[in-house]
Symmetry: C2
Subunit: 330 residues, 2 copies
DNA sequence: GTGAAAGCGCTAACAG
DNA sequence: CTGTTAGCGCTTTCAC
């Protein structure tokens, strides 16, 4: 391993000067810098990031805490965050919050300069993590609806607006018997989507008492199950699932039973995940900008790390209605 | 921040002893350990992992380098690796190899103790990374077919065997006009699958000259495109796509054209990704144990990190035929 | 503009 | 079993 000291010896300058060349060239004579750079090049010097971190207190790493890393749902978010980090030469350590020790260990071990925390429902653990961050003045950005009590920047998508658009679309096409399949009752996204959907229906003059709402869990399996119990007798002519996965399960059931989509039942989802377009029939859904969410969140923490300013604002990202063949259009 | 030294002062023992309690309690008097632990608890001490890494030379982190982190294809692999790492209190830094600087920077900056590298085709960059690892004697495990020249442990799935099973299944059901859609010509997995498929057909007495093979790129879009150019005139009664995504595109095209699956065309894929079961019709495919791949690879590097033994063997994991309704069964 | 020297918080010989 | 003493490789005052 080539150390800073080796470069110093080789170039004839001190470690301090070499360090300066690496970190802030402006404070060093151009000629000196040139010589030192040549030396680094010659020896193939690479800074030891661990040593730098210990010495400087900056780790050039941020943690991205997700409910579950291992789901396709967050892939674009992760990509967005990664791209933003790369530009700043930061590393991203992605962890599932579901693994309790891991996330807290990370927080206590001085491995990262900041956190991005995604949550979809209130949880003690996340609450604790967050309090911890704030206590230590560690920069943290929320992805999702912020918990009331604290102030930290948050990035949210316009769930209400998206579902509202879907409601207007449903109403415009005269769907009469509508089934809404939500996520778990404590899922904040799902609840916002439900709220927006009801709002939109109401605005369109749809009699809300005719809307049937059931609780799901955002899974394909549950979507299938609910379709089985609610759609076999053709008592609905449209279903809005609060996420695409659930809709995927619904489509499977309907296809299995040869219930024609969208002639007999229109189906819509939320997310516009990568497979939505390739389902049969292609799924009408609400697109949310996952890549941007990740990118903006990362940009935000990096800014906070740089400036150490509190900056407690909320960024709301737009959603978009994507109409495909799973919905009957008049 | 509470440091080791604070615990030492508080408990009245030396830093060394406190360190021992943390790392290898066996060498310390039980009573002493108890006192020190109480002190740590009281002060809320958390080891600074950066300092530990610099001092010990071990980082308790391994890098997982994937062609593209941000695809659902690797989610289970990532999960498997993560679970294995967690048990050993290791962190995983997951990076896309496609980002050139990132991966090499990681390798040169002493941030990780070992590497897991997944590749699906030969590339200069991976070759360079690998040579680098070997030169530095950094533990590294391959996921995929090893490049000939080097020896490092590798984990591969039985692509040949899986595709062979599919061929037998095709032959058993008397498919006569078969289309094979591969990945890119240099994709090692795809080529093994093609090889196994041909092998299996041959074994079953299928006249290989009747097999039509086209090159795809593992994408849904390309699958759709190839279906459009090859399946519109019903000149095939079965297609085997070398991955599920391609099959997904094929299904979409056939459904759009109302070509009946499997009555007119049987379709099969490879991977058994999470959506395979939920496509229409549910997709016949070959399951590969992605979770296990990640878990075994991580276990393997951790072992190498512990023992610093070379250990140049190859692990081959089995694949399994999953028959679903996209294929006509006699 | 450059160098000397003091750490960052921890581990790891080496003594005792 | 426990303490002393050097560092790990880098950054960062503080002088010059």
């Amino acid at each position: 391993m080539i150390r800073l000291e080796d470069v110093a010896k080789d170039s004839g300058f001190s470690r301090a000067t070499v360090s300066r060349v690496i970190n802030d060239e402006s404070k060093v004579h151009p000629e000196t810098a040139k010589l030192i750079k040549a030396s680094m090049e010659k020896l193939g010097y690479r800074p030891n990031l661990i040593a730098r971190a210990l010495s400087s207190g900056r780790n050039n790493a941020v943690a991205l805490l997700l409910p579950d890393v291992t789901t396709f749902y967050y892939t674009n978010l992760i990509r967005g965050a990664g791209d933003a980090a790369e530009d700043a030469h930061y590393h991203v350590i992605t962890k599932s919050i579901s693994k309790p020790n891991q996330a807290e260990e990370l927080m206590n071990s001085n491995l990262v300069d900041g956190f991005i925390i995604r949550h979809s429902s209130f949880s003690e653990r996340i609450d604790r993590l967050l309090k911890n961050c704030i206590k230590k003045k560690t920069p943290v950005v929320f992805i999702g609806k912020p918990f009331n009590e604290y102030t930290c920047p948050s990035i949210v998508v316009d769930n209400v607006g998206g579902a509202r658009k879907m409601a207007h679309f449903f109403a415009r096409n005269n769907y009469r018997r509508i089934l809404f399949i939500g996520g778990r009752h404590d899922n904040l996204d799902s609840n916002d989507r439900k709220f927006g959907f009801r709002l939109g229906l109401q605005e369109s003059g749809f009699p809300l008492q005719d809307l049937v709402e059931v609780e799901g869990d955002f899974s394909r399996e549950r979507g299938y199950e609910i379709a089985r119990t609610h759609l076999s007798d053709r008592s609905f002519d449209a279903v809005f699932a609060a996420n695409d996965e659930t809709a995927m399960g619904v489509l499977l059931y309907l296809n299995e039973r040869s219930i024609r989509i969208p002639e007999e039942v229109s189906v819509a989802g939320f997310d516009d995940t990568f497979f939505a377009e390739y389902l049969w029939p292609p799924l009408t859904t609400i697109r949310q900008p996952m890549y941007d969410i990740g990118h903006i969140a990362m940009t935000q923490v990096l800014k906070m790390i740089g400036e150490s300013s509190p900056n407690g604002n909320e960024t709301i990202l737009p959603t978009e209605l994507i109409v495909r063949r799973s919905c009957k259009v008049q």
